[in-house]
């Protein structure tokens, strides 16, 4: 069964440990700009929100990639980029409504959340347990839709349209 990453926003304390572990695992460096997850802070309002690629059911990036370099992983169903086929046109970056993909400036590659091969590290390192891996059973699907409904107008694209 597909698993997705879910955020319980009220639990986030804005510590950015997720950014640290994500960049450390993927780039061998602690660098928020190289992380696949970003904590957006509203310091005056006291709100912190981790944002990342939603690994949509009907990804806009996969649909637009002219080189057909974006695909879904066999096992995790995470949306992945075949770096070898990528032609660097950046259409995927443009097509994503939530800025889920970015271009690594030094390695010149598309980077995005790939769910760490099915066992996301940020979930383990978040001290508050704000990040959760949820299996898409009936309850999981419902929770995912409720979650995404709060921030995106592209609910069906992201969750596959079923309630």
């Amino acid at each position: 069964m597909k698993r997705v990453l879910l955020v319980n926003w009220e639990k986030c304390i804005g510590c950015r440990t997720c950014e640290m572990i994500c960049s450390l695992l993927n780039e061998e460096r602690c660098n928020p700009t190289e992380a696949r997850i970003t904590v957006i802070k509203f310091e005056e309002k006291g709100a912190d929100f981790p944002v990342y690629c939603q690994n949509c059911e009907a990804p806009a990036c996969e649909a637009i990639c002219p080189a057909k370099a974006i695909y879904k992983d066999d096992i995790t169903e995470a949306v992945l980029v075949d770096i070898r086929r990528c032609i660097g046109c950046r259409m995927c970056i443009l097509a994503c409504p939530i800025g889920g993909l970015s271009f690594h400036p030094a390695r010149k590659e598309i980077i995005k959340c790939d769910l760490c091969k099915g066992d996301p590290a940020c979930v383990k390192y978040c001290p508050e347990g704000a990040l959760e891996v949820v299996s898409l059973d009936t309850i999981g699907v419902k929770r995912r839709r409720e979650n995404i409904r709060k921030f995106s107008s592209y609910l069906d694209m992201m969750t596959g349209g079923k309630e």
Partner: protein
């Protein structure tokens, strides 16, 4: 399934692959310059040549364009291949002495100097940029012009392109980095294509983030822009997402 021998090893492979693709699949390394998995093979740079023995006759051919056929024997690094590849790189080095990728290849193959007359080009006329633009992006903005020693890749009539998206894929795939893209304030300049394109200004932060024509391309091909996200740079899209959450906070 087809049975062939490659570098002395017997392998079975499905139909439809080129010799280069087969080699990649089984982990045999063959150097390339003008090859890209997303587009058709062209055989322009000649670096990927291998020796193919069929029905007792041996020939040198580019592995990217050579289809795997039943019963062939492939030698990817025989003396003949090595000697010829060395010569090819020697000539490439003479044309583009400053291209790092060619310098590296030369070093690998122990090519020290070139006997051919020296030039100072960066482009090896492999046509990869043209193939990407035509087959993948689909706007066909650039192509070959002229023949012989005057041959070059350029836009029609060598003037500003009216179809170029400014996506930069050509520069990204170019093996020698011959295509330079310059981002200056609100414009993207690609001198080699005599083209200058305006960029879209992010509605929220004011930064110029991508050429307008590329954004239009996405608009045409993509899902409906329900919330106007195409007017925002990707960083601001994250913030706007978070903002929606704050409003419900």
């Amino acid at each position: 399934m087809l049975k062939i021998v490659i570098d002395g090893k017997e392998v079975e492979v499905e139909e439809g692959l080129s010799v280069l693709e087969l080699a990649e699949k089984i982990g045999v390394k063959i150097p390339t310059l003008c090859y890209h998995p997303a587009v058709s093979a062209y055989g322009a740079c000649r670096v990927c040549i291998v020796e193919v023995i069929e029905k007792g006759l041996s020939k040198l051919t580019t592995s990217c364009t050579c289809p795997v056929e039943s019963g062939i024997e492939v030698k990817t690094n025989s003396e003949k291949v090595k000697k010829t590849r060395k010569l090819i790189v020697e000539m490439l080095l003479a044309r583009c002495p400053d291209a790092k990728i060619i310098q590296d290849l030369a070093k690998q193959l122990h090519v020290e100097k070139t006997r051919a007359p020296q030039k100072n080009e960066n482009c090896i006329l492999c046509g990869l940029c043209m193939r990407i633009c035509r087959e993948i992006i689909g706007v066909d903005a650039i192509g070959f012009a002229n023949r012989g020693h005057k041959r070059k890749v350029t836009t029609p009539f060598e003037i500003q392109s009216d179809v170029c998206l400014g996506c930069g894929a050509c520069a990204f795939v170019c093996p020698t980095g011959a295509i330079k893209i310059e981002d200056v304030e609100d414009k993207r300049k690609i001198d080699m294509w005599h083209t200058e394109l305006g960029k879209v200004k992010c509605e929220r932060c004011g930064r110029y983030f991508f050429p307008e024509s590329a954004v239009e391309y996405v608009k045409r091909k993509s899902l409906q822009d329900v919330d106007g996200f195409l007017k925002l740079c990707p960083d601001c899209r994250k913030r706007v997402l978070a903002n929606k959450l704050v409003c419900g906070w």
